[in-house]
């Protein structure tokens, strides 16, 4: 995979000791298939974690468990002190604080860009419409497409749609952002505009977990890279060590395949 040139972060990004997400002995099965095997992971406030691995390794499933788009069957997931259980109140509480960006954007095609952004603040946070629209416009400025506010998702390019999707998540003022292969469905020239937004977000101290194959992003932005295979965390390290000095054979094989061209 080719590496996209990333704008280098200008600010120093700091990690605190506050625990944001804690996964303890998490298991999950799809029917007979054991998709997550004993996942143990602690994410601190301000961390930027990149998760990579071959397809089918369970990386998407893992981050989807964090806002319970997937249900885990064993172990504990604690987000900001609230444990994810069958209790819907807990689930909704956590979803308010955890933003998510999807591979296929998943914007609401029947709503204008502005309405896409204000929907959740108005209906979940009970924010007055005017205020929600102000917040939304500020965020659209930040992702550099305020002029598209009145358009519909179908009228935007893929890169613009993904930036809107990021802005939509940010409207809820989340404490953590999960990215599930945010650039995989984009044309090469659009990947950069999305990654730039993500870099800026990291600079502002957002806690991020990102499933991606953009190794350039991992090298410049992540403070930790996690490699998963067959439902397990095989290796985790800070990016320099991870790329230059991988320990596990499977990691080496994966990196050789992904970086060879």
């Amino acid at each position: 995979m080719s590496e996209i040139a990333i704008q280098a972060p200008t600010k120093e990004m700091t990690v605190t000791d506050d625990v944001m997400i804690n996964m303890i002995g998490v298991h999950k099965w799809y029917g007979e298939f054991h998709v997550l095997k004993d996942i143990n992971l602690t994410v601190h406030k301000g961390e930027r974690i990149v998760i990579c691995g071959p397809s089918g390794s369970g990386k998407s499933t893992m981050i989807r468990c964090i806002n319970r788009l997937e249900e885990h069957q064993q172990g504990q997931i604690i987000v900001e002190g609230t444990e994810l259980t069958g209790d819907l109140k807990h689930v909704e509480q956590i979803r308010k604080e955890v933003g998510m960006v999807f591979q296929h954007f998943n914007l609401f095609p029947h709503l204008s860009i502005l309405d896409n952004l204000t929907l959740a603040p108005i209906w979940v946070r009970k924010m007055p419409k005017k205020e929600a629209e102000e917040v939304a416009m500020n965020l659209l400025e930040r992702v550099k497409i305020p002029e598209q506010a009145k358009k519909y998702p179908g009228q935007l390019s893929g890169g613009q749609q993904q930036r809107v999707a990021i802005a939509r998540s940010l409207c809820m003022n989340p404490k953590v952002m999960l990215f599930d292969e945010p650039t995989s469905a984009l044309d090469p020239e659009m990947i950069k505009e999305v990654l730039d937004v993500m870099v800026e977000l990291a600079e502002e101290g957002m806690t991020m977990m990102c499933v991606t194959h953009e190794m350039g992003f991992a090298k410049t932005v992540a403070n930790r890279v996690i490699f998963m295979d067959e439902g397990q965390i095989i290796e985790e390290n800070e990016p320099n060590e991870f790329f230059n000095n991988p320990q596990n054979d499977r990691t080496k094989l994966f990196l050789s395949q992904i970086l060879s061209h």
Binding site: N67, L69, L88, E92, R95, K96, V98, G99, M100, F102, H104, N106, L107, F108, P109, H110, L119, A120, W123, V124, Y152, G154, Q155, A165, R168, S169, M172
Partner: protein
């Protein structure tokens, strides 16, 4: 190879108008009606069939028709006798509703039209409140107007209701009630909760599996047998409930078709933003699903509108029933054709309006590109 020099530089070629023959009426005729020998033959054949069928109908319905008069002797019998429709107009429109009380029906019609007009004005700001009035306030007002018995209005029993009025009461109530019930059933059928799912499937399959005639017979003949002695339940209400539940089952399957067409990512995105199940459905999934199935919904509405004519078999005289009834009047025998043509015309007007409105709605709600 052509010796001609290129007339424009690379990348600077302007737009040219298309060749004139492909656009305009002449172009259309050439492309669609005369493009091949077979097409020419079919065009001529259709022209001949139209020549054979249309002029006699126009002759009968308009040119030779009798429009003015007061009794059957005024009819020349060369063409249609529309005097017949005019003579029985009140019965066809209102059934046996008392003459002095007909203003109540007309007033309700007028109120509906006046209240509904602002909904079509784009700049009108209180559409939400008006819709609430139309869905809750209006039916209550209409109920008191039609039934009477209070506010100094004479009580009019439902067996006196009839004609187009009855058709509209049954079909509008059926249409308005079947959509929400159908939506709930469709959601229930896709639910993860086994009991809810089983109940919804059972309900839908039961009502879809029996003919409407059976439903109406059961409501009028069988149902009263189960009621305790002396308890009376209006026949019209029983038929109404039957029609509602019957069309709700059909509506549920139409709506479910729309729900299945919405990608899973939409639900996931909404849930990831913290929207609850009902908010996700109301704000994200249903608006998209319903828009997709507008043709199916309107299809069901139109079907229901015409199916209301079946209430004739349980002794309710709707538009068609009333026309059949007045056709048996000894003074006016032999005018069945005029009656049925008129009924068909009225039904067609309503169904075609619904169809046109749905097309307008589809265009208005179109946001994809």
């Amino acid at each position: 190879m052509s010796d001609q020099k290129p007339t424009h530089k690379l990348g600077e070629h302007p737009d040219w108008a298309p060749p004139s023959i492909t656009i305009g009426a002449v172009g259309w005729v050439r492309a669609n009606m005369l493009s091949s020998p077979l097409n020419i033959f079919l065009t001529l054949l259709c022209g001949y069939l139209i020549y054979l069928s249309v002029p006699p109908v126009v002759q009968w319905a308009f040119l030779d028709a009798d429009w003015f008069g007061t009794n059957r002797d005024d009819c020349s019998r060369e063409g249609a006798c529309w005097i017949y429709i005019g003579f029985w107009f009140k019965q066809i429109m209102y059934g046996r509703y008392p003459d002095t009380e007909v203003w109540r029906i007309n007033f309700a019609y007028a109120l509906l039209v006046v209240a509904a007009i602002p909904l079509f004005v784009p700049s009108f700001r209180w559409k939400g409140w008006l819709s609430v009035f139309l869905l809750i306030g209006y039916p209550i007002i209409a109920f008191y107007l039609f039934v009477g018995g209070s506010f100094g209005m004479e009580h009019v029993e439902t067996p006196l209701w009839g004609g187009l009025f009855l058709t509209l009461v049954i079909s509008v109530l059926g249409i308005v009630a079947s959509l929400p019930i159908g939506i709930v059933l469709a959601l229930g059928r896709r639910s993860d909760m086994p009991v809810v799912k089983a109940i919804c499937i059972g309900f839908i399959e039961f009502w879809r599996g029996i003919p409407l005639i059976t439903v109406l017979f059961m409501s009028s003949v069988m149902f009263p047998l189960f009621l305790p002695e002396g308890m009376h339940f209006d026949k019209l209400i029983r038929a109404l409930i039957g029609v509602m539940l019957f069309s709700a089952a059909y509506m549920a399957e139409v709506v479910r078709g729309g729900l299945q067409a919405i990608p899973k990512g939409q639900t996931e995105a909404a849930e990831a933003l913290g929207l609850s199940y009902w908010k996700t459905m109301n704000l994200v999934i249903m608006p998209q699903a319903l828009k997709l199935v507008i043709p199916g919904i309107v299809n069901t509405f139109i079907g229901l509108f015409k199916d209301t004519t079946l209430v004739l078999i349980i002794g309710l005289f709707d538009l068609l029933g009333m026309i059949q009834l007045v056709g048996t009047n000894p003074d006016w025998l032999g005018f069945h054709i005029e009656g049925y043509v008129f009924a068909a015309f009225v039904f067609w007007c309503f169904c075609f309006s619904m169809s046109r409105y749905s097309q307008h709605l589809e265009k208005k709600l179109h946001t994809g590109h």
